[in-house]
Subunit: 455 residues, 2 copies
């Protein structure tokens, strides 16, 4: 193992140069004009896997963007790790806020700046380099490895989801290793073991059959904007609890150990509030901020609109008003069930003077990987060795919908070995990736392969 | 008088064609891009007054949109009537709901469809045509007439208000005649003796210093859209009463006679609800619908906006959300006092997690004219003659802010001889004006000139 780690350390500069080549390909999945770049990027990944020593590498065409599948199954009897990542990136707008060209990577202060640096090219590439280090030094891997790398993560992973559904045997594995999340803080080895799910709906409240003059009609007819506001207000009680009946029925309570773990992170509410520019935080009573962000379900209006919204004054009672409402879900809440509960309750809040329409836009299951499963234990040991620091366990407030598909379909625990930072401007101008974390990530990946091979 | 009335009846078709020309000018006062149209419209009105036979006609520039002043003072010793109206109109959005282009008038089923048809071009134009009928048939008027026509009614009448304050001698009169309100119902001669006032504000609630990902941050930070909704909800109690402390302190109670008058109108809640397309009406408990509409103060959100309002889903917590809130006021509430009470109370509803800004956009005093004054009596007789039906007395839920300024500054009673209908979609798509009422209005105006000349 000493040789593998030394090899990784010795090759750091090469890795950065290779990563730059990877980052130069503008593989924006949502823009049709980047279709060729997407294909070029899939081939780039395939070439790198081939050069690293993988025995089988395929670029698989789909109805959307190509998948890259690869495997090395030269360790019969040993466990199999499936590495997942994505080579597609977000658009670059607003381009004028970038300090360098987004596809012309620049290294500054130990960070590499480019679109996709942290999300997810830099993180995904760590695993290609770790297996290469084994092949170059030991000639083989201590376990079996598969890769499935997609080009549609930023646009919904549709092709991958259907590929997983149709290829559970091909993708069969003992754990799925993903690096597409964040460290708790700079230099802190972190494993994310939970993700929140999502239930996203649109509601529309319709009153009178046309917009009305608020002088002539005001007082005599229900106002859809006021009524919608009132209905939204009723979705929380004064303690910040969501009032939908049975909403919390399936919520898995935090264990004492989890709460202690979170507490040990010494999260500063004050610093958090200051960074957000608010005088006070707000949330469900009885829980700390980290508990609220990571392990408690929420209900947020993501948008609202109704009536006159231009400059100045218009004395109108709008015929209708609408809002986007999403709920972040936690294990074991089910988005379909929650959407139904929301719809029924929301409709029940409406006075007779309005009609209500609720549309379920989309959902995602929450995910939780037990901390005591062998893959998580191996990942913990691996990251502690690489960082030479004690691991911390966190959950993440956002959703990575494909994670749940992997764990459900392949019945394998997912290890979220994220090496990014939430401050690295993913989806924003000046995205970057900390190059120290890049190296530590390659080492963590290598240690993991070693550790998990004996499980 | 027979000649005047015959002339009016004979010229109905010409009046409609002239009105069409008037309605073709998109004199939207709130939009800077319509500034030229506004000027064109003022000149159109001036030309029509000149052609009608008025001796002095002036387009007066102001800091805002021009006023049109006109006079004919050829009846010394006789009373003077000041006719007020406005040539500006509301914006046309939502444009897609119009069945014809809003500035391309269409006559259908005895109605003329265009923005401004009933509010107020059609109604104001009646008086120009009635004095023209006198000049064309009798060569003179039986009393003195002044016109003051403005282009800022829909945006607060600021220029006119300061003009009145500085020109009380020029505008001196025995009564102010205004047609900018509605008949109680189709074909029912109606005088409106009370108007509600207005207090119109904009509120903005700001939370975090930037839009946030609702997955990563949801649950940990106050959401300005939810908070704004909650604050709006708190402005009414469950009986539909406004909760602002001292809000009702100055409200003049309805007399027994007024409540009886209103009852005698046999207003049908069922018909009203059906016409509006709602399953139920809604309002302050303890009052009938007419009392709520005419003589009780209200609070309505005229618009609300915040966060993502496009198609589909975006998981965002908006940095800010805002709403337009207006209150209709009744005698003797004062808009300045009410705006202050609102601002203080609204700010008190905000949790610490947000900042609140309240902007007072504009206000209007409520108005009440005694029923036994000579101008009202003359107007009653005039309308009964034109319609050949008994007059009814009503109040109006809307505001004509300038009415109070007239009555206060000129110390003259205001006659509200409205010929519109509340079902004519003023401020909404497909605004229209009943052409039978248009003709009856010209006749009512002529009879009034005759009746009032002997007072």
């Amino acid at each position: 193992m000493q040789d593998v780690i030394s090899y990784i350390k010795d090759n750091q500069q090469n890795y950065i140069e290779e990563l730059k080549d990877f980052l130069r390909i503008p593989s924006i999945s949502t823009l049709p004009e980047n279709k060729d770049d997407i294909n070029r990027c899939a081939n780039f990944v395939a070439d790198k896997l081939r050069n690293a020593g993988m025995s089988r590498v395929e670029v698989i065409q789909t109805e959307g963007h190509p998948l890259v599948y690869s495997e090395w199954l030269g360790a019969p009897g040993k466990p199999t790790v499936l590495v997942y990542g994505h080579y597609d990136v977000q658009p670059v707008d607003p381009i004028e806020l970038w300090e360098n060209q987004p596809f012309d990577p620049v290294v500054k202060d130990g960070k590499i700046f480019a679109r996709g640096a942290t999300d997810d090219k830099g993180q995904m590439y760590m695993h290609i380099k770790s297996i290469e280090a084994f092949f170059k030094t030991e000639g083989s891997l201590p376990l079996n490895v598969k890769f499935i790398i997609e080009g549609e993560e930023e646009i919904g992973s549709e092709s991958l989801e259907s590929f997983i559904n149709n290829n559970t045997d091909l993708l069969k594995c003992d754990t799925v290793l993903v690096s597409d999340t964040a460290l708790y803080d700079e230099g802190i080895p972190t494993l994310t073991y939970g993700l929140r799910g999502l239930s996203y709906l649109e509601v529309e409240v319709t009153g009178p059959n046309r917009d009305l003059h608020s002088g002539t009609f005001g007082g005599g007819v229900g106002n859809p904007v006021n009524i919608l506001a009132g209905m939204i207000a009723k979705l929380h009680d004064k303690n910040g609890k969501i009032t939908i009946p049975h909403f919390y029925d399936d919520v898995l309570k935090l264990t004492k150990k989890e709460r202690d773990n979170f507490k040990s992170l010494k999260f500063s509410d004050k610093k958090f509030a200051k960074e957000l520019g608010v005088a006070a935080l707000e949330g469900e009573s009885g829980f700390t901020t980290l508990e609220r962000l990571w392990a408690r379900p929420t209900l947020d209006c993501n948008g609202i609109i109704g009536g006159f919204t231009g400059k100045g004054a218009k004395t109108v009672i709008a015929s209708k008003a609408s809002a986007k409402v999403s709920m972040r879900l936690v294990p074991n809440q089910d988005p379909k069930k929650i959407s139904k509960l929301f719809t029924k309750y929301f409709k029940s809040l409406a006075p007779k003077s309005v009609k209500v329409q609720v549309t379920d836009l989309h959902g995602a299951l929450p995910a939780l990987t037990p901390l005591d499963n062998p893959a998580t234990v191996a990942a913990s040991v691996a990251m502690e060795k690489a960082f030479d620091k004690k691991i911390v366990y966190m959950r993440e407030g956002g959703s990575v919908p494909i994670v749940t598909v992997f764990s459900k379909k392949l019945k394998a625990p997912v290890v979220l070995m994220g090496l990014g930072l939430n401050t690295e401007n993913l989806h924003s101008p000046n995205e970057h990736f900390n190059l120290t974390h890049f190296q530590l990530g390659i080492m963590s990946s290598a240690y993991f392969i070693k550790e998990f091979s004996t499980k």
